[in-house]
Amino acid sequence: MTVDTVGRFERALEGLEVGLERVSAADAGERIERTIDEPAVGAPLPFEGVSLPEGVTTEPTAGELEAARTGVTPVGFAVAEYGTVAIESTPDGAEPISLYPDRHVAVVAESDVVPDLSAGFERLAEGFDAGRDSVVFATGRSATADMGNLVHGVHGPGDVDVIVLEDR
């Protein structure tokens, strides 16, 4: 079931031209490192045994945020149906870190990938009850057609990668 869900998530992301990698917690740091363009900023990853690679600055200054090419953040959960990741507004700045740099690397536990929007809304409601009541559903890359053609990376990231922690 979970495997299918992640497969569906992967296919949805493919359609959005977003890469997905499945890794174990032990390999996560290394894989994230390979995915990022430096300079990079990040919000701490709340997964046991997984930490951000050396080159990723946490608690960035406004200047570092502005200069960063990659932002790495955990996401609360993901919706396989649409390839959506749920980014929470947290004091450590996950929301701006996922938004300002040109590339966003989203890290999600496999067990937090839910099949469809309804399941996503159940998770959203649980979070709201627990006080996590500001969440962005981000699906694919920032885009606009206002300049005559479809262009990615307008105000938000033009590249997105998703890392799924298989053993979580």
């Binding site: 608690e59 701006p96 709201f128 559903f137 699906t139 920032s142 053609n149 105000h155």
Partner: protein, 770 residues
């Protein structure tokens, strides 16, 4: 009301067709196609639309309570709610917030102007917030790329979702090259976007206050939902320490779970995407740290805001929700306009509209809103005059009814507003000629052209009685110019040719019901009839009865050949013509008369068969508003479109070889009819044609552009032709073209310069014959 003259209107439309038509058509029709494909690929789309509508109905019903609920929720979160009565009230409040906050933060000195960044919001357009803030000395920058293009060009939005849809890439490049004088001139969309991103990025990082709209506001949690693809709304909302969200009160929905169907459907209806890139759900003030780019060395998480756990967000943050009334609470009390408040501003109605695809929002709109639903919005928020000028462009084709995610009956709202506009007109240049022909239920002051078309049944009766003299007369130069002058009938249009012998007279002369039964018995003896004991009342609509009598005869012969006896009584008008001119009182009277006239037939178990789709649509849709519920249901359940009825007969064993059949693969082009498609009645005609040996290819152009009397009007001649040409290109290669609607057939005959019969004329036994 300052009415434009017909000539001015025609000039304006011609100008829009030339300047904005191409860009609008390209974008709107692409969005519409994607919406159609996405709707079709979504299994539960009907359930989703029904649910979305139900939530809105309930929310608007409980609106005063929801305002109190959201006030409590936002205050508990640490923010403020302000309910603004009107534009001036809202603007003054926002200006005050901006000034106070910039002063508190000490950035507004003598030389420093408070600066605001804004993400797209039609509601702030509605109240002209930008002008109001600028008048207070506040710098305001649009951050949505489309809105920004308009700001640079000093233009107005032409579409709710794609505000700059009417400007092509090349025009934007010219504009930017002139305004910003780059080292290398901009050319591609990528270059333009990159420039905009950098330029606007700076404005955002410097801004004192961020202003957004809200697509939805969840009352019980105080959550603002923002739906965007660019990401600018997120940046505007969370970068400066102060966020002001301006939303109409109608955006309130009760709970988080009510948000789900809207998140699921809004992008599908707007652009055909499964979901938008960013559905931002903020319950501000949020826990995200504020970003002070003036102090680039400070960690963003180092301020007081770090580790907030008290549930009221970063204490540096300030949040204001401005809920705008501006006429909405009155709309809520208005039984006809209330539905407008269910609108989620997705723009699907505009995209699906053939006239909109040609001239865009600058042809359609009132002061702010554009497209079909604009009439409702403008009538509600800016008053009837703003709605009046162009609500005429709605032909009542009902394409938008299928597109709207909350199932708003947009054509009805247009009809209602038209009716109110009619009533508010001053009695003027009263035309005795028209007056004599028009025994309607309307008060004086109605435009003579409207009155003429609204009473077309009486006109047709008189013209038929005097045919062919009336036809010669009508074609004569002086008469055409008089018709153009007084009634606005464009002299380039072919007028209908009235037949001396009406369908009703023809039917009586050939022996009436008795003869029809005899013919039916003969068919039964040959074994070609259906296994059904039915009798039909064939409805002689105005055109079938007096103009296109052949299709009436074909219908009668077809039914008889398939074993069903027919009667063709002289029946009252359906009210369709009156409705299309906004003459609701007349339509109401006619609906009652028609029902009374067929009640006995319905009691006797007879079926009512209708040839003209727009008349059937009146009985199946608008009569719900005009007849008592039981009468409406009874007529609706027992009335059928002619080919739908034939389909039923064939399904019940009638023999198609009794009709004129093709060779099995005879290619023909078939244009259904807008309202017929909304009633899901294209398929039966296609099925019948196939069973009878034809290979029909159906058109998917939104409309023929004639839609009733619309195409006759002088001010719309070019628009009607522009729309018609899109249909023309789809069907012109076929040897045989058939169309179900009178106006569709008329338009196609003019453009193709050949005969375009009704499908029933092709199918009738013996083929097409006089």
């Amino acid at each position: 009301m300052a009415q434009r003259s017909r000539a001015q209107t025609a000039d304006h439309i011609r100008h829009l067709l030339e300047t904005e038509g191409e860009a609008i058509h390209e974008h709107a029709s692409a969005s519409n196609e994607r919406r159609g494909a996405t709707y079709a690929a979504t299994d539960d789309i009907e359930a989703l639309r029904t649910e979305a509508r139900a939530i809105k109905e309930d929310a608007i019903d409980r609106l005063p309570d929801l305002i109190e609920t959201v006030r409590e929720a936002v205050e508990a979160n640490g923010g403020t709610v302000y309910v603004a009565d009107d534009a001036a009230d809202a603007n003054a409040y926002v200006a005050d917030v901006v000034e106070t906050r910039t002063e508190e933060n000490g950035v507004a000195g003598e030389t420093d102007t408070p600066s605001v960044v804004k993400s797209k919001s039609m509601t702030t357009e509605e109240i002209d917030l930008n002008d109001a803030l600028a008048a207070e000395g506040i710098d305001i920058t649009e951050t949505d790329l489309g809105e920004w293009v308009l700001q640079v060009a000093d233009d107005t939005p032409s579409h709710i979702v794609g505000p700059a849809m009417h400007i092509s890439r090349a025009e934007i490049a010219d504009l930017f090259n002139e305004r910003f004088d780059p080292d290398e001139p901009f050319e591609t969309a990528e270059e333009l976007t990159q420039f905009a991103r950098d330029h606007l990025g700076e404005r955002i990082t410097e801004a004192d206050v961020g202003i957004t709209g809200a697509n939805f506001v969840v009352a019980d949690s105080g959550t603002i939902a923002l739906v965007t693809n660019e990401g600018n709304a997120r940046k505007c909302a969370v970068t400066p320490d102060t966020h002001v969200a301006v939303a109409g009160v109608e955006k309130l929905i009760p709970t988080l779970s009510d948000l789900e169907p809207f998140v699921d459907i809004i992008a599908k209806s707007a652009t055909g995407q499964p979901i938008s890139q960013y559905v931002t759900m903020l319950s501000p003030p949020t826990d995200s740290p504020t970003l002070d780019f003036d102090s680039p060395e400070e960690p963003i998480t180092g301020g007081d805001g770090a580790e907030t756990t008290d549930g009221t967000g970063d204490p540096d943050r300030d949040f204001h929700l401005v809920l705008l009334d501006n006429g909405r609470m009155d709309m809520r009390e208005d039984d006809q306009l209330r539905e407008t408040l269910y609108c989620i501003r997705c723009g699907a109605c505009s995209n699906s509209c053939a006239n909109f695809q040609s001239v865009g929002g600058h042809g359609f709109g009132g002061e702010t809103y554009s497209g079909g639903i604009a009439t409702g919005w403008e009538a509600g928020v800016h008053g009837q005059d703003s709605a009046a000028e162009f609500n005429d462009l709605c032909t009542g084709c009902t394409n938008c009814v299928d597109a709207c995610p909350v199932k708003i009956d947009i054509p009805w709202i247009n009809t209602v507003v038209r009716d109110r506009v009619n009533r508010s007109s001053e009695p003027e240049s009263y035309d005795f000629l028209v007056d004599g022909l028009t025994p309607d239920a309307e008060e004086g002051g109605l435009d003579p052209g409207k009155r003429f078309f609204g009473n077309i049944g009486t006109v047709a009766k008189a013209a038929s009685a005097t045919a062919p003299v009336s036809n010669w007369l009508a074609d004569a130069g002086p008469v055409r110019s008089a018709l153009e002058r007084t009634l606005g009938i464009d002299r380039r249009r072919d007028l209908p040719t009235f037949q001396r012998e009406s369908l009703v007279d023809w039917f009586e002369k050939r022996g009436g019901v008795a003869a029809s039964s005899r013919r039916t018995d003969q068919a039964a003896a040959r074994g070609s009839g259906a296994d059904l004991d039915r009798e039909v009342v064939c409805y002689p609509d105005v055109y079938t009865n007096y103009v296109d009598v052949d299709r009436g005869k074909a219908a009668v012969r077809t039914l008889e050949a398939l074993g069903v006896p027919v009667r063709v009584p002289d029946l009252p008008e359906s009210g369709r013509a009156a409705l299309s001119q906004g003459m609701i009182a007349t339509a109401d009277e006619q609906a009652s008369e028609l029902y009374a006239a067929v009640a006995e037939d319905l009691d006797a178990g007879r079926d009512v068969v209708v040839i003209e789709p727009s008349d059937l649509a009146a009985m199946h849709r608008e009569y719900e508003r005009l007849l008592p519920e039981a009468s409406f249901e009874r007529l609706r359940e027992n009335s059928y479109e002619i080919c739908e009825y034939v389909y039923g007969l064939l399904e019940n064993g009638a023999d198609p070889s009794a009709l004129s059949t093709g060779d099995g693969a005879e290619p023909i082009a078939y244009h259904s009819h807008c309202q017929q498609r909304t009633l899901d009645l294209e398929a039966p005609t296609v099925a019948v044609l196939e069973q009878c040996g034809y290979a029909p290819a159906t058109s998917d152009a939104e409309c023929c552009g004639m839609a009733g009397s619309f195409g006759y009007k002088r001010e719309y001649y070019e628009l009607s032709t522009d729309v018609g040409e899109r249909l023309q290109t789809q069907v012109e290669d076929a040897d045989t073209v058939v169309a179900s609607g009178t106006s569709c057939g008329d338009q196609l005959e003019t453009l193709l310069e050949r005969d375009v019969p009704h499908p029933i004329e092709l199918l009738a036994p013996g083929g097409r014959r006089p």
